[in-house]
Symmetry: C2
Subunit: 333 residues, 2 copies
């Protein structure tokens, strides 16, 4: 088609190696178009130009606490990202980092800007205020030659993109309503994510949730039978759809139910887009995710699809900040 792209394998890195980063490593393993060559966590990093082995990396992380312990490829460091960037030949990074503190992703983006590295970054950020900090970095990213894809997970990400497509039938969009169901058998694997969810509960905020010990989280979940019911969450789908000119942010609502004791989803994740057609009819399009698809599949799949799309933009000289609502993700084979 009109786009063309070199057929070489794209070397990619994963920053953060919790549940999301580990899932990303597994997802990449069978891909022909991308090779996982670099990883960093808060205690170290690993780099292997010929590719890292996800089974080994995950085992070492679990047993020793950092990919920096990987023999041959690992290095322990308390400044792992800054040390990895100049060493590794990587065209694109998935920032599978905790969403908290809320300034973390923008701080990492600034590290990349300062480093002189040029390439594609993709995040699966959730909060509007975190995306706003990246919007503020827009021209710095562009000047640095970085193509930064933000909000490219499940929601925001997959569902925001589906909403942007659905909006096409309408002259005016009245409401975008995202409702997610998440079922996880074992919340300890997603420690950071669960705290991010708790921060959305009445009486909690980001700082309070982050300060909770594992025991305190377990005690809270005992009280709710493992269920977290979330309403009117601060989710960046709103700012992304507003920036794409589709509707104003206050027309976008995000809520959901997280079951931390059951791999089955308590409800099917969906986005409903209501609007008025040019003939004056009010209607609602619905995009519903299959219950068997995990959070990991719905976050990491789009993240790499947007990383591939971002690489095409980058090769065309298009740098700066892009969201999942304005760029079509490309399928990674």
């Amino acid at each position: 088609m009109g786009y063309s792209m070199s057929q070489t394998v794209m070397p990619v890195g994963i920053l953060g190696f919790g549940g999301l980063g580990q899932a990303a490593a597994r997802l990449l393993a069978p891909k022909q178009e991308m090779r996982w060559v670099a990883a960093a966590d808060h205690l170290g990093y690993a780099y292997a130009p010929q590719g890292l082995n996800p089974d080994r990396a995950i085992a070492v992380y679990h047993q020793q606490g950092s990919v920096g312990h990987l023999s041959d490829y690992g290095t322990l460091s308390d400044d792992s990202i800054a040390q990895l960037i100049p060493q590794a030949e990587v065209q694109g990074y998935f920032l599978a980092l905790p969403n908290l503190p809320n300034t973390f992703m923008a701080d990492v983006a600034r590290q990349f800007i300062r480093s002189g590295w040029r390439g594609v970054l993709v995040d699966a950020l959730k909060r509007t205020s975190a995306v706003e900090q990246l919007v503020a970095l827009q021209s710095e990213l562009a000047q640095a030659g970085i193509t930064y894809m933000t909000g490219c997970g499940a929601t925001p990400g997959l569902l925001t993109a589906a909403a942007a497509i659905a909006a096409q039938s309408y002259a005016e969009v009245h409401q975008v309503k995202i409702t997610f169901g998440v079922g996880i058998a074992n919340w300890e694997v997603y420690r950071a994510t669960i705290r991010e969810d708790i921060a959305h509960l009445p009486g909690y905020d980001v700082e309070k949730a982050r300060a909770m010990s594992d025991e305190e989280v377990a005690a809270l979940l005992d009280k709710t039978q493992g269920i977290l019911a979330l309403e009117n969450m601060e989710h960046a789908d709103d700012i992304m759809l507003e920036m794409a000119g589709i509707c104003s942010r206050d027309q976008v609502t995000v809520g959901g139910v997280v079951d931390t004791r059951n791999p089955q989803k308590p409800l099917s994740t969906n986005v409903k887009v209501t609007g008025r057609t040019f003939e004056g009819k009010i209607s609602t399009h619905t995009f519903t995710l299959g219950d068997e698809t995990s959070m990991a599949a719905n976050v990491c799949g789009p993240a790499f699809g947007y990383l591939k799309a971002g690489m095409r933009l980058h090769q065309r000289g298009l740098h700066g900040l892009f969201t999942a609502a304005e760029v079509m993700p490309l399928f990674v084979r």
Copy 2:
């Protein structure tokens, strides 16, 4: 965001002024980012740089058979497209032309290539074989400085894009199944479209359907109580998803039910995308269109959304052929 675009109003034209072209003119009327300035049908054309009035144009077309009869702006011509192109200052055209004969859209594309005009073309083509003819023109379009967006209606178009988004959750896509429901109160308004549907029925083909008189169509519809049930249709969603690297074309099926005597849809139009996640789970995402959205809204909305996206590509020097499966449509305000 990373993209930026001049804020001037985009002058657009509509080629073909049947049901689809007329709906497109009405849809454009309230838009601030686009102005409808040109139209052509098989007997004439009209051009007004300050904008055409849809009510007047539709009335004149119904009463006198061609927009060429519009006072002040109309010209009668048996070579209307060729005459309009060099005269009109138009940045993008929606080719709301009949899908039949199957070579028609490619012939019109060749007219644009020969004319030296540079800009964006968008079609809502349905058949795979028609899109294949445009694929063959890919490098000629690129050399001519034309950005051609093909398959940008409802299906292919809106539903193909939704399928491309849905595919992101999967390591491997097994099936894309599109099922549409269309309800129209008055099939005579969509004469060409109904013949295209009939051509998909067992015992019919494109030539046979096209040769049918209105009375023959009415007689056929009498026999089926106005219902056309279509299976395994030749629809370009298949080649578009294949070209986007999402699945092979034989994994894509399109079918539907058209009720020609009832504005209510006989079933909700939907696309189901089934695949395997990286963890080995098989699941299905579903995108369902609201029943109150008309064929006109679901075809013309995306068409102009892709025209806007095509204009950004064009301004960036990206020419050639693009499909709805690889480019995110942009919302036209």
